[in-house]
Symmetry: C2
Subunit: 144 residues, 2 copies
DNA sequence: GTTTGTGCAAACTGTTTGCAACTTC
DNA sequence: GAAGTTGCAAACAGTTTGCACAAAC
């Protein structure tokens, strides 16, 4: 079987065996602009006969290997996205549920402040913004 | 039965009937410096014969009423804390697991930036810091 | 041929729900 | 006494695990 070379080489680099469920899983996550749940991925992968258990097993191995990030928005399930070098956070639209990347972040300064004032060593931070996305904002203003 | 007047009046203010599980639940959360899970609360309340289901029911009603905040740190369960007017975030120590309130926050500015640049209306934000707390930092430095 | 991954079914864990009995107001 | 709350048991949803077979290297 011949797979998309991009994902094959990612898998090889991490000493993972190359299988259809894994290649497709990476392809799906890479193609999606948003973090996806195991269920989201299963919607597509089940067409190839792939089981949810297999998806969960790959997801957790890939997170462990640093290939994926696991994200928790406080709703029913965890979501996963490809890990990159970019530093960003997530904005969730209250209206449409869309998840948007936010690149603005002034946290180096804030982390240093916390370290100085309280003495805690800050190693990482996650921010979740909630509100109304630009598209839903304009829909609302037209409706009125 | 006679209960701590503080929690009785909170319940009355929100039109909740005053019962032992509810008064004690508020008392436990108020007494704890940290957000607690339903299980944590059950550890104490089960001594009075209170069921986990009752705790979950009260927690979700209280969250809905704005009395409590529900917090998700991405581990197995949700945590709850009394809602206050203070604005703060959470720091989780990687070593001891302690949850510490962080009052520093420069987000009004950042939120305005996001609104200006991307057009999303930011209504709220949650930040989770992770690292090593001041106590664990000093233990580590002594150990070396 | 050894190691690793897979599908299937069953288990597990945090949370929710149906219901009849019981409290609160 | 009407409305809301409780304990118990059973259900539920997302996730994990045991196992025998199969694919990757």
């Amino acid at each position: 079987m011949t797979y998309n070379e991009k994902y094959v080489s990612i898998l090889r680099q991490h000493d993972f065996k190359v299988t259809l469920p894994r290649v497709k899983l990476l392809e799906i996550l890479d193609g999606s602009g948003e973090p996806l749940s195991a269920f989201d991925i299963h919607k597509t992968l089940s067409k190839h006969g792939t089981d949810l258990a297999t998806i969960y097993r790959s997801l957790s191995k890939f997170v462990e290997a640093g290939l994926l990030n696991k994200i928790d928005f406080g709703d029913e399930f965890s979501r996963y996205e490809l890990a990159t070098n970019e530093h960003y956070h997530h904005f969730i639209c209250n209206e449409c549920g869309k998840v948007i990347k936010i690149h603005q972040c002034n946290f180096d300064k804030l982390s240093k402040d916390i370290e100085k004032v309280a003495g805690h060593k800050v190693l990482s931070h996650e921010i979740i913004f909630r509100g109304i996305c630009n598209e839903c904002v304009s829909v609302a203003s037209v409706a009125h």
